[in-house]
Symmetry: C2
Subunit: 314 residues, 2 copies
């Protein structure tokens, strides 16, 4: 297999794009494509300050690396969740984020949930009915809240996350299997900023997971190989496996599923504009404690979570 750009030996073969590239050209191609997606989906401009949420995994560290290479003002945000599970998951992921920041001379902001709120994610999950089986939903609430809080406090315009195509396609697949209207309408590469919240963007949303693995390996990025121990057996991993089967049978099917969804929306498939969005935003209030938008009266989901006592009562 030869590199399409130089005819040299290909390092990465991508049948989904009918494209093979050598290491050098692959490491050029990925940032070029990222820059293209950032423009195509109106994610952010060259003067905006970007905060990249990094977990220590290949996707988010690669995203940070790419944005730095593209010349953006991108700082990192690491949120310590206090997950150990016998493999020191959080401490190892923090170490890797700090090592990356140091190596590249970049600023990393660290928030430790346990220090800040006197509870790790597993402890918070134990407190309420929500997330008792698996703390992922609690973890989602906490991460979203902390990302919003830090971005607002420190004046970032944009929050960037490392969601790749496999993540986005699996989410879309789940929302489609259940025809979950609100979630189907919410899934976009860009979520506009609103009411003091930074804009949220997913610059890697069109890269296959294996493309990001190849990028991280070829760029010598040290990342945590383990998935979060709580994600094992999750629905989203099951959906990823089903989509991988489809992809193996028909290379490009996963990308087509996601990209055609975006195109169909653009083309007016859904009854989404004006009324519905206004209705959704119209229902948002400010949380009484933290001020972040919420659909609840009184406290938002996060503030209710951290103010629970050990019996799950407010």
């Amino acid at each position: 297999m030869k590199c399409k750009a130089c005819g040299g030996k290909a390092a990465v073969n991508m049948p989904q794009h009918k494209l093979a590239l050598c290491a050098e050209h692959y490491l050029q191609w990925v940032p070029e494509q990222t820059a293209r997606f950032i423009k195509k989906y109106w994610m952010f401009g060259p003067d905006e300050r970007v905060l990249v949420a990094v977990s220590g995994g290949k996707d988010s560290l690669s995203l940070w690396d790419i944005l730095i290479r593209l010349g953006y003002q991108a700082d990192g945000l690491y949120i310590g969740l206090g997950i150990d599970e016998g493999i020191g998951y959080s401490s190892e992921s923090r170490r890797l984020c700090e090592a990356f920041a140091q190596k590249h001379g970049q600023k990393l902001i660290v928030v430790d949930v346990e220090e800040q709120y006197q509870s790790s994610i597993p402890v918070l999950a134990q407190k309420g009915a929500r997330g008792q089986v698996r703390p992922c939903s609690v973890c989602g609430v906490v991460k979203r809240h902390e990302m919003n809080r830090i971005a607002a406090d420190l004046g970032y315009d944009v929050l960037a996350t490392g969601h790749n195509l496999d993540d986005e396609a699996a989410t879309l697949f789940g929302n489609t299997l259940n025809w979950h209207k609100e979630l189907l309408l919410r899934q976009r590469p860009v979520l506009p900023g609103h009411n003091g919240l930074a804009r949220k963007v997913k610059p890697l949303c069109r890269f296959y997971e294996k493309e990001m693995t190849a990028y991280a390996l070829l760029r010598d990025i040290e990342y945590i190989y383990d998935e979060c121990p709580f994600s094992v057996g999750s629905t989203s991993i099951y959906y990823k496996e089903l989509l991988n089967q489809l992809e193996n049978q028909r290379p490009g099917a996963k990308l087509a599923f996601y990209v055609k969804y975006l195109a169909a929306r653009e083309d007016g498939l859904f009854a989404e504009e004006t009324e519905r969005n206004q209705a959704t935003f119209g229902e948002l209030r400010d949380c009484d404690r933290c001020g972040q938008p919420t659909t609840h009266t009184g406290l938002c989901a996060f503030c209710r979570l951290v103010s629970r006592d050990e019996n799950g009562k407010q």
Copy 2:
């Protein structure tokens, strides 16, 4: 496993409905459910004349059987496609339809495509680029045209087909993977009559394929076991297999996928009403030869097909 109705030994277990029934109660339950779906989706009333398209398979013969048991005026329509493929597929399926009609004292209308148009489906498929690999798309055009023609000529109000849940879910899955807007908006249990065409209905659309197999077996309906030899390896069979995997993992997932799609449409997920439908219907013309609606100028797809010469030219 016990029958939920009488406590006797269950013959059919349906984890997807958390329901097990003995043979007697299962054979009551299927028509009751069918009657419920006919009403729920406004398919037809007791005074309307129904033409059931029968292929000799378990679904369409079971549908005919159910409609007869429910007291509807339902005649059968068999369309001979001239498919042999070494197993006498069409002649055997015709024999089974005729045997069913005779056994139940019902009227069966037989159309033979080869007699009528001097070409079997495999021959028609050879004539043009369309369907040369697999004649399924040509077959679809021919069956649709002939069903419409007979229903109009003989004054039937309604055309009923035996599509089951597995068929509908696989179609929906394919249309969703490709976000095919027009097809997504066209898939309903009822397609309203239009411009001289009979209303089209799918009364079995909420029954699992295995539920129809159980019905046909318990009712001693003799049906053709073979799938059409041309359907082997088709995309829709591949989608059915993927959905079966999902169903095995999560009983009820297939039904939820289809039913939630219908519910989300009712709930206004899609921008489908008024303008779009008017635009679609507005583009329809009458075929110059047969008069059936078509989006083409001049001849419809069917008339172009049967008027081709052996080199595929008109």
